[in-house]
Structure formats: structure tokens, C-alpha cells
Amino acid sequence: MAANSVLGIIFSNANDEVIPELTALRTMGSIPFAGRYRLIDFQLSNMVNAGISKVGVITKSNYRSLMDHIGSGKAWDLSRKREGMTILPPYNLPGTSMIKGKADALYNSISYIENSNKDHVLLTDCNVVCNMDYESLVKAHIAKDADVTIAYAKGIPPKMEANTELVIDENARITDTKIMDCYSSEVNYSLKIMVIRRTLLERLLHEAHSAQVDDFETIISKNVQHLRVYGYEETGFVRVLGSLQSYYDISLELLKLENRKKLFTPERPVYTKVRDEVPATYGIGANVKNSLIADGCRIEGEVENSILFRGVTVAKGAKIKNSIVMQGSFIGENSTLDCVIIDKEAVLKPNKMLCGASNYPVYIGKGIVI
């Protein structure tokens, strides 16, 4: 099995700054998504479904919620004696300061990488939501005898800073990369998921450390001419979260069956921490249309075009439209929500009204009582 030769590394904090609202109290990896998941679930599940059995999760800050969620890795069958999951917290080597970029973070964990004895390392961020066949990615990497293989999608890139456009020749080889902020036309953009030869990674990290370079993508881009760097096109449902707005839009895209079918497949299930909630209960007068509802919800009001996470209560007469309500929140009687994102365990008392716009959703923070 190809994946047996691969070490998985997940950056749980990468791109935290693009969704400051949701990462104020957590990592990018622990942002709740799609009613019952956290973003890191997709990466962990992709790796496990591909047969990767050794995974390091790099953390930098605010990682308590992440640790609470992934625990020992049991939900992904990664709680093992041999291999399994390891959390790699920041580790101040003598003479270094707080880790900055990805290269720095990887250098911090270099002994973990060296000791893995794997031939290749698969690196991913958490703000990319996909159900990608990593086994086929790794196979392509090995078949091309590549130094580096970068997964990309074709289309209009997400609206966020520093998208990397890849210039790819007919043999799938990446000949050049461009960093741009704004795109209006379709290009091949990097998903920041890559497989790299382990020994090469170690060499690049040592070089970057002596040269004080933090940004790992820059290092690869600089070396694109000297190395065998290939592209791997992903054509499934893949979305990059680049802002609160895109979090909102991408979440609601899952109300379409065709998108759900691509993201949640029986062949490659997405695993998450099990919370043993009861099934959702619908009371008399409940009226739910076009919505995703997680277990543990109690619904007596109206819900339309929305996503309710686990354990949300919707009291009688409450109306929720075009909104995302996270775990354990309470929407009181006759309250109305439209285009709102409510974080965990918030309470909206009776007879309140909150409205945003579909291109400017209102965000209510964790535990806030209104």
C-alpha cells in the first residue's frame, strides 16, 4: 500500500487570520462545519481513508478546543501503539522564538519527521474542505518519481490573500508559480495540499532555518525550476475557506444534494468525535425546509435554508432562515434569525430579531446571551 510510506502532517492553525471571528477562541482546524464536524475532521478522515496511519497535528495557539476534539485520535482509529496520531505543540528550541510560519513550525517538529522513517510527507492545511482520494494523490506522486506533488483545483480561486497559481505543462509538471490576490478568471490554484519526499523536506527545512525563511510555500516556489514538482488535479467537491463570508456560503452550498453526495461518500466516510446525542426531535408545529439538522436538536419552530449543529433548541414560534446555528445554542420563542451565524452555546431570548444579509452575515460569538 502506497500510503504506508507516507507521514501525514496537518497544520491546525494555518490561515487562522482569514476567519478571525471563528478563530478567536480556537484553531482553524477546530472550526465547526456542516452541522457536526470540525474542519480538521476532513483532513484526518482523508488521511485515514487513504491508509495513512501516522499523522502529526501541528498546533501553535488556542489549541485547547482542538485537543478536546481530537483527543487521542480514537474516532479516526488513530489511537495506536504503532504510529497513530501525535499532537505537535510549539516547542521552543534553544535560540528560537515563538514559531512564525509553516517552515518554522515544521522545523520545530523536525525530529518527529526524521524519526518517522517514511519516504514521503503529506502536508495539508485545515481551511480546505474536501473528500479527496489521498491514496491516488500519493500514487501519482510515486509514479512520477516526483520530489513534490501539489494538489490543485481549476477555477476561480477563493477570495483570500496569497493564492498560488500554478503553471502546469502537458506532463503535469509545474513550471512556474505566481502569487496573486485577486482573480476573475479560471486558473489552476494550489490547494496547499502537497506530498514531498521526506529527505528533501528535511534539507529544505534546514536551509530555511539558517536563512531565516518562514514561508514554506515560498521555499517550494523558489525551487520549482530545480526540483521535480508536479500538479495533481482534484475535480471533486473542494472548497477553500478564506473569510467568514466564504464560510457562510460554502456551508450553505451543502444544502444541495449533489454537493453532499460528493463530500460525504459511503466509500470514504468523514469521521468525527461521537457525542452520543439523541436523534433530533420535531415537535408539533415544527416546520423545516431545505435544512441540515444534526442530532440532539429540538425543533418546535420554523427552520429554512439553514444548518443546525448538534443540540440546538428552536422554541415555538421561532423562525430561522438562511442561518448557521452552532452546537448547543438556544433560540427562544418567537425570535427571528435571518442570515446569521451563531457560535456555540449562545442564547437568543424570546422575541428578539437578528438580521444580516446574504452577502454580509451577522456573527454572534460563543456563549453570548442576547
Binding site: 452541522g35 439523541v278 436523534p279 433530533a280 415544527a286 425546509k289 444534526a294 442530532d295 440532539g296
Partner: protein, 404 residues
């Protein structure tokens, strides 16, 4: 050698549950799905761990494959442990020959060696047939406080139903003065729940004696407990009040599921301090479609609902297409109900397909004679053809073709 626990539980899960008909054709009764995401056995197992009992022997015999697979290493119940944990105990070959479990007491007798490995002070005997939430640790405290040899959990049942149960006459101090097994004219409404705590050394002695006795049915209720009682051992009744239901028949299984939709029924599965754990499939939240209507129902992960659902319990990964109708029904995992089909007053087992326009079950109000009415049951993996009709009370165990 294991660290010695004070009390271990032995869960009798070998029963066929023959009154559940085709629902238990390929699975043992404790593996029958209940309440949207549970199986019956989740209740005693969760009660054990919530009560602090972490060593559980599960005695299986009838169709154990699915049950064994479901329990696995016990991880969903936190029973994957270095000391104790869950153990599946099937009948095995011994030097003196091979025997099936002949009765409830014989099943424990055959596993005396298992219990001895832990050498507990007390043994809790449970069955895998009931839906209830109970703190066994309180019952154990009571057992110790009364300095009892045997404590039997009892529940007051309605007088008109009392004759269906094993009853006890109880003195003021809680001690049991007399037993009556399903009497015609009950003198008590205190029914045994089939939950017992024994001092292990006492029970061991009586199990060995009972085994040697010719003609014994090797049953707790019929043989061992009466023998202990007539020998003058200290027998006490422990009163339980709360929801308790034997789901031994189609109607009671149907009722017990719909009880979950009744806010007046005292069975809160949402209680964080007493969760019922289960092995759940990895499925996304359920989706309710644009033209669906869902009221008074329980729906769980992986369902795709396009039709109308009323007073029903849907298990994981059920699909109900647009224009289909499900009411007063229990639909088990993976079943598909197609456009325009009607499923009412029914139990549909796992992975069945109800084709377009088929009608399953009937409302009691539409019956010429209400005594002919009953819940319709569709078996595991059965296909009901386009426009076909399934009568109330029917048990469908083979595919039915289309109505054309």
C-alpha cells in the same frame, strides 16, 4: 490476574425474542434497533458504565454475529479497558462435553470460571430485553445496607397487567415474603424486572446445587431464586420507579419507540448525566427537503427527507422521497421509501425498499373491525413493489412484486 472489582455484571443476551418474528430472524433480541440510533442492549450496557460497573460479561447464544460485531471491543460504552471491560461469553466445549445454555441460571453456571477470574463480592444479573435507565449502584448500596444475599429490582405495574409478570409479596422492611409466577389472581402488583444482585459466593453455591438437581429448568425465576427463598436466605426487593418497558412483542416495540415522542413519558434520552451510548455510523446531519413536512418525530444522521413524516422514528440513512408519507411508523437504518409510497402504523426493518405508490399498513380508524388491526412489519432487505399493498398485522418476509 485482574484487579478485583466489587461488582461485575452478567448480561443475558442469548434470547431469540421469538415474539418479534421476522425482526429477530437473523439477530438476537438485544440487537434489535430502538429509538432512532440505539439497540436494546445499549440500555443495560450504558446503565452499567453510568453506574460505575466496568466489567460486563455478555452471554450470547442465538444468532450472535451481529450482536458480537456491534459490541466489538466495547469502545462506544467506554468498555474497552485494560482491567475488566466487556466480554462476549458464548457456550464452549468442555471436557465433559458441549452444552448450549439451557436456562438463565445454567448460562451463569457455565461461566463460573469467568466470574472467578475477577472474584467479585457481588454479581449483577441483567437481561438484554428492556428499555429503562437505572442506577445499579444505588441498588447495590441498598443490597449492602440490607445485608441481603439477593436483591431483586421490582416495579409496580398496573393491576390489570400484573398477571403477566413474576410478582413478589414484600414486607415493610423490603424483604420478600412470597413469590408468585404469573398468577391468575394476583395478590401483588410488584413485578420483578429481571435485574438481580447476588452475593457471589452464595449464588455460586446455589448454581452448583441447581445444576446437580434433576428436573431443574436451570432458570433464575423458576428455580434458583425459589430455592434460595425456601432455604431462608435474605431476599430483598428494591423498588424502581421510572420508565421500564419490555419490548418483547411487535406492538410493545412499536409503542416503546413512539413513547419517545410523548413528552409525558419519563424516559429522557437527552440527559447529559445519564447518556445512552451506542455505536453510530459516520453519517452527516440529516437533510429536510424543500417540500417536506416533519412533525412529532425523531430523525437521525444520514437521513434524506423529501416527504411527510408524522409521529415516526427514523433511523440512520433512511431516505423518504418527495410525496411519500410516513406516519406512526418505525423505519430502521438504510431503508428507502420512494415517491408517493405510504408507510403507516408499521415497522420497517433495515435496508428495505418501499417502491413508488406502495401502501404499507393501515390506520385503526379505517378498519371495519378494529380487532383485525395491528402493526405491519417489513423484514430486513425486503422490497415492496410499485403500488403493492401490505395489510395491517402482516409480516412480510419475502419480496412483493408490483401491483400492475
Amino acid at each position: 490476574m485482574a484487579v478485583k472489582p466489587e461488582c461485575i455484571a452478567m448480561l443475558l443476551a442469548g434470547g431469540q425474542g421469538s415474539r418479534l418474528g421476522i425482526l429477530t430472524k437473523n439477530i438476537a433480541k438485544p440487537a434489535v434497533p430502538y429509538g432512532g440510533k440505539y439497540r436494546i442492549i445499549d440500555f443495560p450496557l450504558s446503565n452499567c458504565v453510568n453506574s460505575g460497573i466496568y466489567t460486563v460479561g455478555v452471554l450470547t447464544q442465538y444468532q450472535p454475529l451481529e450482536l458480537n460485531d456491534y459490541i466489538g471491543n466495547g469502545q462506544p460504552w467506554d468498555l474497552d479497558r485494560a482491567n475488566g471491560g466487556v466480554h462476549i461469553l458464548s457456550p464452549y466445549q468442555q471436557i465433559k462435553g458441549t452444552e448450549w445454555y439451557k436456562g438463565t441460571a445454567n448460562a451463569i453456571y457455565q461461566n463460573i470460571n469467568f466470574i472467578e477470574r475477577y472474584d467479585p463480592e457481588y454479581v449483577l444479573i441483567l437481561s438484554g430485553d428492556h428499555i429503562y435507565k437505572m442506577d445499579y449502584s444505588k441498588m447495590l448500596d441498598y443490597h449492602k445496607e440490607k445485608n441481603a444475599d439477593c436483591t431483586i429490582a421490582m416495579l409496580e405495574v398496573p393491576w390489570d397487567e400484573a398477571s403477566r409478570f413474576g410478582l413478589m409479596l414484600v414486607n415493610d422492611d423490603g424483604s420478600i415474603s412470597e413469590f408468585e409466577e404469573k398468577p391468575k389472581n394476583p395478590r401483588s402488583n410488584k413485578a420483578s424486572m429481571g435485574v438481580y444482585i447476588f452475593n457471589w459466593q452464595k449464588l455460586r453455591k446455589y448454581l452448583i446445587e441447581d445444576e446437580a438437581k434433576e428436573g431443574s429448568g436451570n432458570d433464575f425465576g423458576h428455580d434458583v431464586i425459589p430455592a434460595m427463598h425456601s432455604a431462608g436466605e435474605r431476599m430483598f426487593a428494591y423498588q424502581f420507579d421510572g420508565y421500564w418497558k419490555d419490548v418483547g412483542t411487535i406492538n410493545s416495540l412499536w409503542d416503546a419507540n413512539l413513547d419517545l415522542l410523548n413528552p409525558k413519558v419519563d424516559l429522557d434520552l437527552n440527559d447529559d448525566s445519564w447518556k445512552i451510548y451506542s455505536r453510530s455510523p459516520a453519517a452527516p446531519p440529516h437533510y429536510i427537503g424543500e417540500n417536506a413536512k416533519v412533525e412529532n418525530s425523531m430523525i437521525t444522521e444520514g437521513c434524506e427527507i423529501g416527504g411527510n413524516i408524522d409521529f415516526s422514528v427514523l433511523f440512520a440513512n433512511v431516505t423518504v422521497e418527495e410525496g411519500a408519507e410516513v406516519k406512526y411508523s418505525i423505519v430502521m437504518p438504510g431503508t428507502v421509501i420512494k415517491k408517493g409510497a405510504v408507510v403507516q402504523y408499521s415497522i420497517v426493518a433495515e435496508n428495505a425498499v418501499i417502491e413508488e405508490g406502495a401502501v404499507v399498513g393501515e390506520s385503526p380508524e379505517n378498519m371495519a373491525d378494529v380487532n383485525d388491526w395491528g402493526v405491519a412489519v417489513i423484514g430486513n432487505g425486503i422490497k415492496i413493489g410499485k403500488g403493492a399493498k401490505v395489510e395491517p398485522c402482516a409480516m412480510i418476509d419475502s419480496d412483493i412484486g408490483g401491483a400492475e
